[in-house]
């Protein structure tokens, strides 16, 4: 079997078998060898057993999204083929041991037998299966073995020299076999290398969000662990000491967001990282942030709900939650990065926005997005601006001064001679409680209308990619950016244009112009089309077609392509 230009490799095994290690070694080594790489995993909500899989796409051109197709499948246990059976085709090569292929598939799939267990045992333990497999696949590409060695050194360095050496030995055995398989012709991979890729960085969504927050001046992160958001907190905790920031795991999400509000009140930039259920617990404090005009940044990595739902899977199902959470009327900003680069810049910018408008800023990602890896040019930190909007509390300072644009200059305690009074009760300009009807009207209008108008006016427009005069407009938001991007490229029709929203709410009224005279197709990963509904409510734009997916899995290029073809052809 021969694969040209691009190959989709899937590794499947039980939780605890080290698939993630293979994913890491492969993506790093293949990227360093000069290939464009993309990886994503789907995993079960358990610590051991079950079946988890990772897809790695390796290509001569940029690949940044999920495909259903499996070219090479490496099963680490029996049951993997059944788990992914609808992704197998006649050209799929199964690389591995016969024992790991269920009877029903024998004779029907292209099995290239590789004695992974035996090879690992020769090195000393079955545990080395994962590094042997990683070596094997890099060998198929005639990849740079030095990159494998280096990564193993980095990854296992803390476990001692012997562990590093044994893993390198295991990887080398795999590597040599991979080269042999190519030479024998059992499997051939012909993918052009690209020198530029080596200088790029390999990031995950988790890292992009976490590093964005650190670049944006986050000084305090409070959280309660919840999949799939925990990765961001873990990542930031690893960097807390160097960056000189506080990361605190707290008793519950209520405490997490209230601490963050306190930190912002005292002038420090703070964030919480959570998922839908945790965010639900935060809604009262979100409302306090609205009333007290207390900035806060919230990262919400979505997973399917309601309730516990599917803890480790993906969905864009919490848009309505973040749009409507919190009692009373108050503005908020919702951002949903579409690419890893954007996740870095937007998360950093979220802190400036919170500081400037004194509102909650919510960064919506999802399991698929945070677990996505690919190579990209390193974000340029020079493009990150640190814009503080803090004034001195001079004598007579009024925290809630009535202003034309709805934004009252914000002072923080101890900066200036006067005091700062913030309040979750309706208040006068100084921050003291009021029950006055006229003042209530003024304060409501300042917060809920004038400030919202100011934000809307400043809101960036969505990104239009393709022919302005097309008949069809395919709309994506957040994590569906790349899948729509690649699908439209594949479709290759001048008649289909892509419009992407990373700034999800509030929408700039000018965004309406993109939709004029178009047939609108909205692609989103939820059951009702929450963003399509938002377009109708905010811009009066009606979605002619909704392409929806709600099985807890991300869209594949094939699925979106089928759906678009059905509409446009």
């Amino acid at each position: 079997m021969e694969f040209r230009d691009e190959v989709s490799i899937v590794l499947g095994g039980a939780a605890g078998q080290g698939i993630q290690t293979v994913e890491e070694i492969l993506t790093h080594a293949l990227k360093r060898s000069g290939y464009h790489v993309y990886a994503n995993k789907e995993y079960m909500s358990r610590v051991r057993g079950g079946i988890n899989t990772t897809e790695i796409r390796v290509s001569s051109r940029r690949v940044r999204t999920f495909v259903k197709r499996i070219d090479i499948l490496v099963p680490f246990k029996r049951g993997v083929l059944s788990w992914v059976k609808d992704r197998l085709s006649e050209s799929t090569v199964v690389l591995g041991e016969k024992e790991n292929v269920e009877e029903g598939f024998l004779g029907k799939v292209n099995l290239v037998e590789v004695p992974l267990t035996k090879m690992a045992m020769e090195v000393g333990s079955q545990l080395y299966i994962n590094t042997t497999s990683a070596g094997l696949i890099v060998g198929l590409f005639h990849g740079d073995f030095k990159a494998v060695e280096d990564y193993i050194g980095k990854r296992f360095g803390s476990k001692g020299e012997n562990v590093v050496m044994k893993n390198i030995e295991a990887a080398r055995k795999g590597y040599e076999l991979g080269i042999k398989l190519c030479e024998e012709g059992s499997i051939r991979v012909e993918i052009e290398k690209n020198r530029g890729v080596k200088d790029e960085v390999l990031l995950t969504g988790t890292e992009a969000v976490g590093m964005g927050a650190l670049a944006g001046g986050m000084a305090f992160l409070s959280f309660y662990p919840m999949s799939p958001s925990t990765g961001v907190s873990t990542f930031v905790a690893q960097h807390a000491e160097g960056f000189g920031i506080i990361v605190e795991q707290v008793e519950d999400e209520i405490s997490a967001i209230n601490m963050a509000l306190g930190a912002w009140f005292a002038g420090a930039r703070a964030m919480v990282s959570t998922s839908g259920g945790g965010f639900a617990l935060m809604s009262e404090a979100l409302s306090l942030a609205g009333m007290a005009e207390n900035p806060v940044v919230i990262h919400l990595a979505q997973r399917p709900g309601p309730a516990t739902g599917l803890p480790t899977r993906t969905m864009q199902g919490d848009l309505n939650l973040v749009l409507h959470a919190g009692h009373g009327d108050f503005p908020r900003i919702i951002l949903a990065p579409g690419s890893l680069g954007e996740a870095f810049y937007l998360t950093a910018e979220a802190f400036n926005l919170a500081d400037k408008y004194q509102v909650p800023v919510i960064i919506l990602t999802d399991q698929y997005f945070v677990d996505t890896y690919y190579n990209l040019p390193a974000p340029d930190v020079k493009n990150v601006k640190f814009e503080r909007h803090i004034v001195e509390a001079k004598p007579g300072y009024k925290r809630y001064e009535l202003t034309e644009d709805g934004i009252s200059p914000r002072a923080v305690p101890s900066y200036g001679d006067d005091v700062v009074i913030a309040n979750g009760n309706e208040h006068d300009e100084w921050g003291d409680i009021t029950e006055d009807a006229e003042l209530t009207i003024k304060m409501q209008e300042k917060r809920a209308l004038r400030k919202l108008e100011t934000i809307k006016r400043d809101a960036p427009l969505p990104k239009l990619i393709g022919n302005e005069n097309s008949e069809y407009l395919v709309v994506s938001w957040g994590s569906t950016f790349h899948v729509v991007e690649e699908t439209i490229e594949k479709l290759g029709s001048e008649n289909v244009t892509h419009l992407h929203f990373s700034w999800v709410y509030p929408l700039n009224p000018e965004a309406k112009k993109f939709f004029e005279g178009k047939k609108v197709i909205v692609v989103e990963n939820n059951i009702t089309g929450q963003f399509a509904d938002l377009l109708w409510k905010e811009l009066g734009v009606k979605a002619d077609h909704r392409v929806l997916k709600y099985d807890g899995r991300p869209f594949s290029v094939e699925e979106v392509l089928d759906a678009l073809r059905e509409v446009v052809e």
Partner: protein, 293 residues
């Protein structure tokens, strides 16, 4: 009251228009607590802009409006986490979390438990009048057994929460109880609590003249006594803590231990308050550099 009031008190008297009309009932114990707090802050030589009072919800939680200091009137039960965030962002501030018995022991109970473990350097003042005032007379976690209320017309049968015993059991850093009717002693306790490094809990008994006809000024005088010594070792403190009638007043327990802000890596090498720090973009760049290889 023939007590010499300290110099500096006037600094803490607010002059804002919204601080004139005090929402407490005539004769409410909260007036006394306000006086005690102002005196303590003034005697400690603090300035209004160096103090932040973070309150929850309830009559007690209206304090930030009646004292001239930085203030944040927040949500029911959430004063402690917010105060923790304030102190973490700016350890140079004197931070006080304030609220009633419902605020701190019911709605905010979980935060109280974990704040004791976390030990931020804040002072928690609980205005404990053993009843819900602002919602008009329902039982609180510290209401005495047998008291009939509009929502417990059959009489309260849940055993009252014992905040002192809980705090000692959790090895809290500073645990005290006072009755606001004793002005001078209360000022001294509050001064010690505010000066104490670490979480200081002061349960302040006070009457609710509108809804609690049992625990009156006279009742508190009759049913409390000042402990001669104290603070005690943990076991003795616990024995004292479980005495219920009369209720002991004074400092039960002090356990000097590192505060949250001293433990977090962020402040180990650099004492600059978080809010004054800037992002370390050079480290971001270095991170990306490492991601090339």
């Amino acid at each position: 009251m023939n007590v010499q009031l300290p110099i500096g008190r006037e600094l803490f008297e607010p002059r804002r228009p919204g601080s004139k009309d005090i929402a407490w009932c005539p004769g409410c114990g909260n007036f006394g607590i306000r006086n005690i707090l102002i005196s303590a802050l003034a005697e400690l030589g603090l300035k209004p802009n160096e103090v932040a009072i973070i309150s929850g919800i309830g009559q007690a939680a209206k304090m930030p409006h009646y004292i001239n200091a930085n203030g944040y009137h927040t949500l029911h039960g959430r004063a402690i986490p917010i105060a923790t965030g304030v102190k973490a962002a700016n350890p140079e501030l004197t931070v006080i979390a304030e609220g009633g018995d419902g605020d701190m022991y019911a709605e905010g109970g979980n935060h109280m438990l974990h704040a004791i473990r976390r030990n931020p350097d804040i002072t928690v003042l609980i205005h404990d009048n053993q009843i819900y005032g602002l919602t008009k007379g329902q039982a609180s976690p510290t209401t005495m057994v047998g008291m009939k209320t509009p929502t417990q017309p059959w009489g309260v049968f849940e055993k009252p929460f014992n905040p002192i015993a809980l705090a000692v059991a959790l090895d809290a850093s500073f645990v005290a109880r006072t009755f606001m009717g004793y002005f001078k002693e209360s000022v001294e306790i509050l001064k010690k609590a505010i000066r104490h490094k670490g979480l200081a809990i002061v349960d302040i008994l006070h009457p609710c003249v509108s809804f609690n006809r049992i625990n009156t000024y006279a009742w508190y005088r009759e049913h409390t006594y000042w402990m001669e010594d104290g603070p005690f070792d943990r076991e003795t403190a616990f024995r004292k803590a479980i005495e219920t009638d009369p209720l002991p007043l004074g400092i039960f327990y002090i356990n000097e231990k590192p505060a949250f802000e001293e433990q977090v890596p962020a402040y180990r090498k650099d004492r600059t308050p978080l809010w004054k720090r800037k992002p370390k973009l050079e480290l971001v760049e270095k991170f990306f550099e490492g991601k090339r290889g």
